[in-house]
C-alpha cells in the first residue's frame, strides 16, 4: 500500500537539461497530430523499444514501404537532434509513443510555435524541452536548418533562447518545465513518492474514499 521511495530511475538519475545543442530538422505544417507522428498500428507493443523507425511512418513510406520525400528520410538531416515545427504540434491522442518515437529517432529538443498540452507534458517526462517562439522566428529557423543542415542549433532552456548562426531568438519555456529541466527534477515519481504520508492524509479527507 505505501509506495517505496525509490530514488532515481532505472535508466539513471534525472539529469539536468539546461541546453540542447545539435543539428536541426524542420517538419512543417500546423496541427501535426500524434496519429501522424506515429500511426496507431505501431502502438501494438508492450515496450517503447524500436519505435524510432516508425516516426512519421505514413508520411515517410508509401504502401510498398518505398521512401517518400520527408525530412526524416533525408540523408542531410540524419543525426539531427533539434526538431523545428509549427503550431499545435502533437495534437490528438495522449500516446507517449509519439515523443518516444521522436526521441528514439534522435530528437532531444523541439522548437515550435505552439504545442498540444499532453504532448508537451509527455516530452517533459522524457526530458525533452518543448520551446516556443513566434511564427516568424520558427519559420526563419526552419529555413536556416533547411539551408544549413550541418549547422548547430542551441536550444537554451535556462536562458529561454534559441541560437543559430548569428541569430539569437527569444523563446519561451513553460515555468514548471524550465524549473524541472534546469534543476533536474522531472522525475515526478521520485518527487511525489517522497510525500506518501501527505497523500494518505489527502485521500482520507475526501468524502468518496470511505468505501
Amino acid at each position: 500500500m505505501s509506495p517505496s521511495t525509490g530514488g532515481g530511475s532505472a535508466d539513471g538519475p534525472a539529469d539536468t537539461v539546461r541546453e540542447v545543442t545539435g543539428t536541426g530538422v524542420p517538419v512543417r505544417g500546423n496541427d501535426v497530430d500524434t496519429d501522424e507522428i506515429i500511426p496507431a498500428r505501431f502502438l501494438k507493443v508492450v515496450t517503447f523499444d524500436g519505435l524510432g523507425q516508425f516516426a512519421f511512418f505514413d508520411k515517410r513510406f508509401d504502401d510498398d514501404d518505398e521512401p517518400l520525400a520527408h525530412p526524416f528520410n533525408e540523408e542531410r538531416f540524419q543525426g539531427a537532434s533539434v526538431l523545428a515545427v509549427n503550431a499545435n504540434f502533437g495534437c490528438g491522442s495522449s500516446r507517449e509513443h509519439a515523443p518516444q518515437a521522436l526521441m528514439r529517432w534522435g530528437i532531444d529538443a523541439v522548437v515550435g510555435e505552439s504545442f498540444a498540452e499532453i504532448f508537451a507534458g509527455n516530452c517533459l517526462a522524457l526530458g525533452i524541452p518543448t520551446v516556443t517562439a513566434s511564427r516568424e522566428d520558427v519559420e526563419a529557423l526552419q529555413d536556416f536548418v533547411d539551408d544549413n543542415p550541418d549547422a548547430e542549433v542551441e536550444v537554451d532552456v535556462e536562458a529561454e533562447e534559441v541560437r543559430y548562426g548569428d541569430t539569437t531568438v527569444d523563446a519561451s519555456v513553460d515555468d514548471a518545465q524550465r524549473r524541472a529541466l534546469v534543476d533536474g527534477v522531472w522525475d515526478t515519481t521520485a518527487l511525489m513518492a517522497a510525500n506518501a504520508d501527505s497523500v494518505e492524509a489527502t485521500a482520507a479527507s475526501l468524502p468518496y474514499t470511505d468505501d
Binding site: 517505496s4 497530430d33 515523443p99 507534458g121 514548471a176 515519481t189 497523500v199 485521500a203
Partner: protein, 474 residues
C-alpha cells in the same frame, strides 16, 4: 485566475502539496487503465521495484485492440493477444479490478467508468487516453495523461499538474430537431480552434447543456481535447444524480445522501469568476459535419465548404491539403458527399441513447448498396441493453453489422479499418489522415443520427430532410 468554479473546488480538495517544479501534486480519485498506454508504465514500476500504491482506486478494461467480431482467445492478431496477456498479468499481480470480456462489463474505458458508477462528481480522474475528459460530464476533473504519468499515478496515486485557466462555454437556447450534443461540440471546436483550449479547462453550461442527458454531456466533454482543452466538465445536477443512483459503484441510502451533499458542494458558485466566457446560440445550430482532416474543419450540413483563402492565414495551408485529401470543393455543401462506410461507435457516441437515436433513423430503411455499415456498442452492457430493446434487430434488418464492444474503427487498432481511400461517415472524434487505419481513407465526423442517414442514403444527408420526406418519427 478563476474563483469559485468546480475546477477550483475539486483542485483544492485534491491538492497534496506543491512540488519543487512549481507544479501541484494532485491526488487521483480514480485511475482508469487500458492495454495500450499502460504496459510500459507497469514495466517502469517493475524496473524501480515499486508497487501499485492504490490498486483499489484503479480500474482496468480492454478496448483499443480487442476484436469486435471473433473475440475467442487467443486473438487472431498476435500483437493484440500479447497486449491483452500483458494487461492480464499486470492487473492480476497488482490486484486491480479488470473488466475483461468474460465479466460482461468490458467496454471502452470512457463508457464503462460512468455506467458502473465509478465516475462520480468531485473526483479527480485520469487515464492514459486523451478522451478522459469524457468523465467531466459528471462534474469530475478528468484529463488524459501520458505513460510516464501513468507510472506516477500507479506508484504514488498522484499526478504533477499545473493549474489552468477556466473558460465557461455557455450554450444558450434549445437545440432544434436533429441537432445533438455532437453538433454543439463540433461547433465549439470550429469557433474556438483546435488549439483554442490550450491552457484552459472548459466548463460547459447554459440551457442547452442543462437539458441534455448524461450521454449528450459525455459527448461534449469527450471532445474537449479536440479543441485543445485537456479537461472539460459540466456542473453536476439532478440529471447527474439520477443517473448515478443505483449504479454498482455508488453507495445507497444515507451514504448516497452524504456523497450527494459533497457533489452539490463542488458545483461552481453562481457568482464564480472565469478567465474567459464564450456564448454559443444553441438554437441556431444545424447538424454539423467535418469537411477536412482536423475536427475544427467543420460546417453545417447545408452550408458551403469554405475556401481556404477565406480562412485566417495560419489555417489556409492545412485547409488546402485537407480539401485535396478529402476531395471536396469550396462552395459545395457536404450534403451529397458519397460514402463507402458508416461507423457508429467510439467513446464519443456509442452509448445507449446514441444507438437509440440512430436506430430511430434506420428503422424501416435499408443500408445503401454501396455502403458497409457497422454498429460497435460502447460496452457489453450497452450491447445487452440495446438487444433487450431490440435495437440489434433494427440495425441488422437494415443491413448493419452488429459488433461487440471496443474502440474499433475510431482508430483502427483492431481489424476494423478503412481500406484504401474509402470515405467513412463516422460518429467518432478524429478525422486525422490515417486515423481509421488507412492513410488514404477519408473520415467525415457527425452525430449518430447523421451516420444513420448517411448509411441509408449512401451519401452525407441532412437527417432532418430524411425525416421530412418519409415521415418516420425520430
Amino acid at each position: 485566475m478563476s474563483e469559485g468554479t468546480l475546477y477550483d473546488a475539486v483542485w483544492d480538495r485534491h491538492a497534496v502539496t506543491e512540488l519543487p517544479t512549481g507544479q501541484t501534486q494532485l491526488f487521483v480519485g480514480l485511475h482508469l487503465v487500458h492495454e495500450v498506454t499502460s504496459p510500459q508504465a507497469f514495466g517502469m514500476l517493475e524496473e524501480r521495484g515499486l508497487d501499485v500504491a492504490y490498486p483499489e482506486r484503479t480500474h482496468a478494461t480492454v478496448d483499443h485492440i480487442v476484436p469486435t467480431a471473433d473475440q475467442s482467445r487467443p486473438y487472431g492478431d498476435d500483437a493484440a493477444e500479447e497486449m491483452m496477456a500483458e494487461l492480464e498479468a499486470n492487473v492480476g499481480e497488482a490486484g486491480i479490478e479488470f473488466d475483461d470480456p468474460t465479466t460482461g462489463r468490458q467496454g471502452i474505458v470512457h463508457v464503462v467508468g460512468p455506467e458502473q458508477g465509478l465516475t462520480q462528481p468531485g473526483m479527480t480522474i485520469v487515464c492514459g487516453d486523451s478522451h478522459t475528459a469524457t468523465h467531466g460530464a459528471f462534474g469530475a476533473l478528468a484529463f488524459g495523461i501520458g505513460t510516464s504519468q501513468i507510472r506516477d499515478v500507479l506508484a504514488t496515486g498522484c499526478v504533477a499538474m499545473e493549474k489552468q485557466q477556466v473558460r465557461r462555454i455557455e450554450v444558450t437556447g434549445e437545440l432544434g430537431d436533429g441537432v445533438t450534443a455532437k453538433d454543439v461540440i463540433l461547433t465549439v471546436i470550429r469557433e474556438l480552434g483546435t488549439d483554442g483550449g490550450v491552457g484552459y479547462v472548459y466548463e460547459y453550461g447554459g440551457e442547452a447543456v442543462e437539458a441534455m442527458d448524461m450521454a449528450g454531456r459525455m459527448s461534449i466533454c469527450n471532445m474537449s481535447i479536440e479543441g485543445g482543452a485537456r479537461a472539460g466538465y459540466v456542473n453536476p445536477d439532478e440529471t447527474t444524480y439520477e443517473y448515478l443512483e443505483g449504479r454498482d459503484g455508488v453507495p445507497e441510502g444515507e451514504a448516497f445522501e452524504e456523497l450527494k451533499a459533497y457533489w452539490e458542494s463542488v458545483a461552481s458558485d453562481p457568482d464564480a469568476e472565469y478567465d474567459d466566457v464564450v456564448t454559443i446560440d444553441g438554437s441556431a445550430l444545424e447538424p454539423v459535419v467535418t469537411w477536412g482532416t482536423t475536427p475544427g474543419q467543420s460546417v453545417g450540413v447545408s452550408e458551403p465548404i469554405p475556401a481556404p483563402e477565406d480562412l485566417p492565414a495560419d489555417k489556409q495551408d492545412t485547409a488546402r491539403s485537407a480539401q485535396e485529401h478529402m476531395e471536396v470543393e469550396p462552395g459545395d455543401t457536404m450534403a451529397g458527399y458519397p460514402i463507402d462506410v458508416a461507423f457508429l461507435g467510439s467513446c464519443t457516441n456509442a452509448r445507449l441513447p446514441d444507438l437509440r437515436a440512430a436506430a430511430d433513423v434506420v428503422a424501416g430503411r435499408e443500408v445503401h448498396d454501396d455502403v458497409r455499415a457497422m454498429v460497435v456498442p460502447g460496452s457489453q452492457r450497452v450491447k445487452a441493453a440495446a438487444e433487450a430493446e431490440g435495437l440489434d434487430e433494427v440495425f441488422t434488418d437494415a443491413g448493419f453489422d452488429w459488433r461487440s464492444a471496443g474502440c474499433s474503427m475510431c482508430l483502427g487498432m483492431n481489424e476494423d479499418q478503412l481500406v484504401g481511400d474509402e470515405r467513412c461517415a463516422s460518429s467518432s472524434n478524429r478525422n486525422f489522415v490515417g486515423r481509421q487505419g488507412s492513410k488514404d481513407g477519408r473520415t467525415v465526423l457527425m452525430s449518430p443520427p447523421m451516420v444513420a442517414a448517411a448509411a441509408v442514403e449512401g451519401e452525407v444527408t441532412d437527417v432532418r430532410e430524411l425525416e421530412a420526406v418519409t415521415g418516420v418519427e425520430a
